[in-house]
């Protein structure tokens, strides 16, 4: 549900229940010795930026029971409050991420029955699981959560992983590290243009049609259920959990959040919205300026990824056929610059937007926001995109997004104003929980990526896009002495079932990983080379198949002891 004024009370109730639960669960005292002593804090005499429009100096903020208790030049500080010297700190509202996937893993694929019909697969095989909730695949202890919190994020809407309709989202607050801290469940229905592998719907063609079919049958099915509920002697409605999952989108009690990866996907999502009439949120908007009129028309909410394209053009040096090449590179540069300007253009067009973390690298966040600011985005719009806009899109502006009395104690405390290069985050308060960070003497803020940091051991799940659709499987690496061994699974190209060839020539140097494997296709041994870069738990690279071509291959590490909540 989206939190509206109507259900705000219910929402608060849920919220308080969760707090109470925390307290009662430790009724038998804490024997770790690590529980915090008090949940009250006072940030004294500080510089406060309570909203993108409003700032004050020399204010004291009192935090109590997870809420902002008091703000003022001289409030009474409760005696149990822990003091935070705020004189040289700059305090902002905690950032809100309207589309994240921190701690979210992909559900295992169900086993296919022997009489599996790829032309008419059951929904769950085809990536159609809108009845799932992302919390079923969420690991509250995943290190990604700390990665983003450390950058100031205090609230995120989690997007489930999977196919075209992976499930419903939930909003959590990144507070108590021992809890998932659910703010609201089933806040939006997640959708994307991902075809199913080797079955209907495999391409965008099928996905568009399937989406319409489900939506319209959900409408019919809901009408049938209403009729059945109020009349005797009717045919029993066949319960269909996919259609049922769509019911709250029919009356717009929740929106559909479409992840898009380019301008055309954006237009396709808008097209579906116009035909069917649901509330639309677009995540991953890129190259969006030409679509602005349609976005306004559809009243769609806009989310930008914090990721920007890599700047390759400015690094290149022209070689042979210099003049001709220079022209082509100029166009690449132009495109790159355009991508930096997008946020500024949307601001000028008066379209509110928020930044999301899904698909972004935490290490690039600050750099990317600064780039957008250098290219026309105002600092206040950037702050709004991190805070109040996200709150509004999630419908939680009554409790988050700005610093006001009665709101959740979600704060970011920096050593300087937010977008200054020298600014470092010293504390984050999320849900009233305090997180302290070391302030480093300023060096060049580059992330180091030494040899020792990269570890590939364990299970990875990969996806490869080919002109025939995407293929998926698992990679397993283990280390024997100093060498790696491994296997990879893939669908048998000529029959059914999966193959699991051994990897050869596994090489890891720095963060560059490469290996090869062989598959027998119609009597020919086909050698397949994979190479690319490891970045934390992500691998992005390509797979080349003999003379035939090379295709993108991305993988994500499967957490070893993923705790399912």
């Amino acid at each position: 549900m989206i939190i509206t004024t109507k259900n705000y009370k219910q929402f608060l109730l849920l919220f308080w229940c969760s707090l109470t639960f925390t307290f009662s669960s430790v009724a038998q005292s804490d024997h770790t010795g690590k529980r915090r002593v008090s949940s009250a804090y006072a940030i004294t005499n500080t510089n406060l930026f309570s909203s993108p429009e409003k700032s004050q100096t020399k204010v004291t903020i009192i935090i109590k029971d997870g809420l902002i208790h008091e703000i003022g030049p001289n409030p009474t500080i409760p005696s149990e409050a822990q003091l935070i010297q705020g004189d040289s700190l700059f305090v902002y509202a905690g950032f809100i991420d309207p589309a994240g996937d921190m701690g979210v893993s992909k559900p295992d694929e169900p086993n296919r029955p022997s009489d599996f019909d790829s032309s008419n697969p059951a929904d769950e095989f085809a990536g159609i699981t809108p009845y799932r909730n992302v919390m079923d695949q969420f690991d509250a202890k995943n290190s990604k959560i700390e990665e983003w919190r450390k950058l100031g994020f205090t609230v995120t809407q989690l997007i489930p992983d999977g196919g075209m309709l992976p499930g419903k989202t939930s909003v959590i607050v990144l507070g108590d590290p021992n809890n998932p801290n659910l703010l609201a469940q089933n806040t939006a229905l997640s959708a994307k243009f991902t075809g199913a592998r080797g079955m209907y719907p495999a391409t965008t063609l099928g996905v568009m049609s399937k989406f319409r079919e489900i939506y319209q049958n959900a409408t019919l099915s809901s009408r049938h259920e209403n009729l059945f509920a109020s009349n005797a002697g009717l045919k029993r409605p066949a319960k269909n959990k996919t259609y049922e999952a769509f019911y709250p989108t029919l009356d717009k009690s929740i929106p559909i959040i479409f992840e898009v990866s380019n301008e055309l996907e954006m237009r396709r999502a808008i097209k579906l919205q116009k035909e069917l009439g649901f509330d639309l949120v677009l995540a991953g908007v890129q190259d969006g300026e030409e679509v602005i009129p349609s976005l306004i028309d559809a009243n769609a909410k806009v989310l930008f990824s914090l990721q920007l394209p890599e700047d390759k053009a400015s690094k290149s040096e022209p070689k042979e056929d210099a003049e001709e090449q220079a022209k082509r590179i100029d166009r690449v540069k132009e495109s790159y610059e355009k991508s930096l300007k997008q946020a500024g253009i949307f601001e000028d067009a008066g379209i509110p937007f928020a930044f999301h973390t899904k698909g972004a690298k935490s290490g690039d966040m600050i750099k990317n926001i600064r780039l957008m600011i250098e290219n026309g985005l105002s600092e206040s719009a950037a702050l709004a995109a991190l805070t109040v806009n996200g709150a509004k899109i999630l419908g939680i502006e009554k409790m988050a997004g700005t610093i006001e009395k009665g709101k959740l104690a979600n704060l970011v405390l920096l050593t300087d104003t937010l977008f200054k290069e020298e600014a470092q985050i010293k504390h984050v308060l999320a849900d009233g929980y305090l997180f302290d960070y070391d302030i480093k003497p300023k060096k060049n803020g580059k992330k180091e990526n030494g040899d020792g940091d990269v570890s590939i051991e364990g299970k990875w799940r990969y996806t490869s896009s080919t002109p025939a659709g995407s293929s998926e499987g698992e990679m397993n690496f283990s280390k024997v002495a100093d060498d790696y061994t491994g296997t990879i699974t893939l669908d048998n190209p000529t029959g059914s079932g999966t193959l699991k060839p051994e990897m050869k020539e596994i090489s890891l140097s720095g963060n560059k990983l490469s290996f090869s494997f062989e598959v027998n296709v119609q009597g020919n041994n086909l050698s397949i080379q994979v190479s690319g870069e490891v970045d934390g738990e992500e691998f992005s690279g390509s797979m080349s198949v003999a003379e035939f071509g090379s295709f993108p291959l991305d993988a994500t590490k499967v957490p070893e002891n993923a705790i399912k909540l």
Binding site: D117, S118, S119, A196, G198, Y200, P201, A202, T203, T204, L205, G206, M208, S209, R212, E213, Q216, N217, L220, R223, H224, L227, F228, N231, L234, K235, E263, L264, R267, R268, K271, K274, E275, E290, P309, K312, S316, K327, R328, I329, R331, V332, E334, S335, Y336, K338, T466, P467, A468, G469, S471, P493, T494, V519, V521, Q522, N524, V545, E547, F548
Partner: protein, 461 residues
Amino acid sequence: MNKNIYLLLAGLILLVNAGFAQTKKGSVLIKNATVLTITQGVLENTDVLVENGVIRRIGQGINAPANTITINAAGKYLMPGIIDAHSHIALDAVNEATSPITAEVKMEDVVNPFEVSIYRALAGGVTISHAMHGSANAIGGQNITLKHRYGTFDPDDLLMKEAPRTIKFALGENPTRVHGRGKSIQPRTRMGVEAVIRNGFKEAQQYQKAWKDYENASKQRNSTAVPPKYDPRLQTLADILDGQIIIHCHSYRADEIYMLINVCREFDIKNIVFSHVNEGFKVAPELAAYTMGASVFADWWAYKFEVYYSTAFNAAILTRNGVVTSINSDSGELIRHLYHEAAKTQRYGELSDEEALALITINPAKQLGIEQFVGSIEVGKQADLVVFDEHPLSVYAVPQMTFVDGVKYFDINEDQDDQRLKVSATEMVEPIYLKEHDHKCMQDVDFFFTNFGRTLFGHTH
């Protein structure tokens, strides 16, 4: 059909109309050209006046109204924009190859206005292409007729709103390979293809009846009638039975063409065009009597077994037997020189200039149901026009300018070399395409591991 779906459709139509209100329309006076009207002979030294996207006057000594550009085409040839009745350009996906019937999928959903192939088609004088689903399924998806208004970022701007609905069917090797051999489901043989199509139509009839019953029942006072399940696949097939959709059927062998003619006659379907139809010449009398015609290649053959017994004289034999015949590209390469493909019928069968040019203008227009709007130079028709330096059927002819709705989208003297609309922000090294042909009829189908060897060697239409 229930009310919601009606409303939905009504909304859709409004939407499409709204979108087209903004389509660019141009005005231009082309003077002193040799005008190849197609339907009304050749007019020497003639002027054609275009106003607001429509041909207003054809004659001599026409003066340009204020604010209308004049182009002197003395010594040049003016012909109607070329129409390609079978193409796969400007599409992000071609085959939803996962089911033998996918009538519900729409090519309209995957139009990609950024493909430079649209511009290259314009540079070959092609102003309209029929963007089709591929040939993997016995009944494929719904095609879309595009006007090449290159430069727009909105796919809807490319749609030709006046064009009727069309759908792709496919017979023979492709559907039997993909489904029968590839996935062990019907059809595996040409018998199975017939059965799948017949089953589809029969089920569609039942579906139509279920909805009719429901609608009748729901008209009763205090009706508690329960709506049937909505099935866009069967609904589309029902629309074919109702005559709302023209079938364009990928086919090669005479027997399979004859089979579908019989099935259509049985279901009283008259709107059918056969495409490729390499052995169409063998059943030319039947094609003439019972169909909207045949859309063929000028000379492709021997790339697979079902086209081994072909002849480049196909178009001539069909034309001489009274079949409405067109020449199509099915390829991002051929679409650039359809005027040359049409000219080959003069080598293979000695068609007249008028007959040869009809193959790429008025005849494909008829097959797409748009002949009242385009396909010839006549007063009142849309101003889709091409200027050639020599007669377009000469191998030395070079298109000079191409107009769609009176707007100039190609001018050989204003070409910028790099005509891409969109460039990747990170792609520093551009791909280099070295395959000589670019045939997409089977795109998205077993391209990767399966049939690996076959695709390596090119021809897969």
